[in-house]
């Protein structure tokens, strides 16, 4: 009886850790994969999403509406960021890092000035269930399912829709895409807005598990960043999934063998070792191996 609870607990933790990485990194890796920009202000978009969701929640909106509102507002903030700043730094990885880091400081300090340092909270919905004497929150599983749903949705959008085909063309060869009538600037703005909206939605989802403050985003940016680098840019969505499977696995084992803190730090160690073996990330590594096998 207790044994089954223990095994379930490990699986539960693995899925929970994966959900964390998938949600925190999905918008970031989309923007990196499509446009070669790492948005260090992604955590601040999550923070904005968290505030919007809790504000909507406290004026009486149901949780799904609050989450959608968070995505919309973060998407609009993303459009403004892209139009005013990011547009000038496409495919300049280092400059974009510095500039978006600056944006991140401005946004978090701005919210601190406007709303003060006090934290807000949202209740965690859905209650809990127990397996073999262990108690588990239902919401964590909902988070995982939502993460998978969001990623599948984004994948389908870029794989099948006319917008997605245009966006991939603009990524592969912007000059030729323009010569075929694709408005590449609009495609970039829209892609950035989608990535930002994913950040806002993730923020709204995490707002129901963590305290909301102006520095809310800082809990997520480092892990999201590591996941994106580990995933690599060759295939954004697959890279994200590979990286989450790998990093969450190491984290789950390390936090059970040692403790939560070691588990958290082990993500960095795992990424360090992973990047020694696969310097441009897992998706790039897999793609090259597949190409080599096909060449043979």
């Amino acid at each position: 009886m207790e044994w089954s609870g223990q095994v379930f607990s490990w699986i539960y933790q693995y899925f929970d850790n994966m959900a964390f990485l998938l949600l925190a990194a999905s918008g970031l890796i989309l923007i990196y994969g499509m446009m070669g920009v790492i948005n260090m202000a992604h955590g601040e978009l999550m923070m904005i999403g968290a505030y919007v969701a809790s504000a909507a929640f406290y004026v009486g909106a149901p949780a799904p509406v609050a989450i959608v509102a968070a995505g919309l507002v973060a998407g609009l903030v993303g459009i403004a960021m892209e139009r005013l700043v990011i547009r000038h730094f496409y495919n300049q990885l280092l400059s974009s890092l510095v500039v978006t880091w600056g944006l991140s400081l401005i946004l978090s300090q701005g919210v601190l000035l406007a709303l003060g340092p006090s934290t807000m909270n949202m209740p965690t919905p859905f209650g809990s269930f127990s397996v073999g004497g262990f108690s588990f929150g239902v919401y964590r599983m909902v988070l995982f399912a939502t993460a998978i749903g969001l990623i599948a949705g984004v994948w389908a959008l870029f794989r099948f829709s006319s917008f997605g085909v245009a966006a991939r063309a603009a990524m592969e060869n912007p000059r030729m895409a323009s010569a075929l009538g694709v408005d590449t600037k609009r495609v970039y703005t829209a892609t950035f807005a989608i990535g930002s909206a994913l950040g806002g939605i993730a923020g709204a989802l995490f707002a129901q598990t963590a305290a909301i403050s102006p520095f809310f985003g800082q809990n997520y940016t480092p892990m999201a960043f590591i996941t994106v680098v580990m995933g690599g840019g060759a295939s954004a969505i697959l890279g994200l999934v590979y990286a989450a499977l790998y990093l969450a696995g190491v984290q789950t084992i390390a936090s059970n063998v040692f403790n939560q803190y070691v588990g958290y730090v082990s993500i960095m160690a795992a990424a360090f070792i992973g990047l020694l073996v696969m310097p441009s990330g897992i998706s790039d590594f897999v793609q090259k191996r597949r190409a080599r096998r096909m060449a043979r």
């Binding site: 085909v165 245009a166 592969e172 060869n173 000059r175 323009s178 010569a179 075929l180 009538g181």
Partner: protein, 237 residues
Amino acid sequence: MASSASQLSLAAVQSGYGRVKVVQNVSLEVATGEIVAVIGRNGVGKSTLMKTIIGEIAPMSGAVSFRGLDVTRLDAARRARLGVGYVPQGRDVFARMTVGENLALGRRVGGAPAANLERVFGFFPILEKRLAQPAGSMSGGEQQQLAIGRILAGRPDIILLDEPSEGVQPNIVQEIGRIIRRLRDEERLTVLIVEQNLSLIRAVADRCVIMDKGAVVGEIAPEALDDPETAARYLSI
């Protein structure tokens, strides 16, 4: 629609890269349904001229008009949607995307509601069999057919071809020549083609515009290139 109406008109166009002027004072009229070849040795500015016409490079001075409409200030995407179809040197198919996706991308040329795949397969049956294949895995000749088929999936009024014979086996070059003629004869498409391949020029061109050092220096009838000395002077062979 008057048959002599100018489809494309360049007035004293100068353009280049940064401060380097490559195209010098080019004026050119191409009538609707005309096939004009731009010839000249390597590095005389033929490709730069093409890129200026489609809007990839903004001219330093002069004007580009398309069906009487001044498009000098419009970007490449808007010119494409007005009906300017471009097949660049090196083809530039989207290598990581499938043949079907490449064709779907041609829809915006001339603003078609959906990609006209039947028309494309009528001209290039091979593409129908390759729809799900990544474009980068095809041969040079197949990629050339895809690059031309891609704009034919839309509704171009004028097509600009930059060395379509380059790296393509001779029988496919012949086939491309036949298709260019058909497009003009059946659909009154206007064609501007940069080419070094004598037999392709002879097969399609109504007249040849000669470029040298960035400027248009003259015009000859395609038949004149049958004289080996003339051909050697204007083509890099």
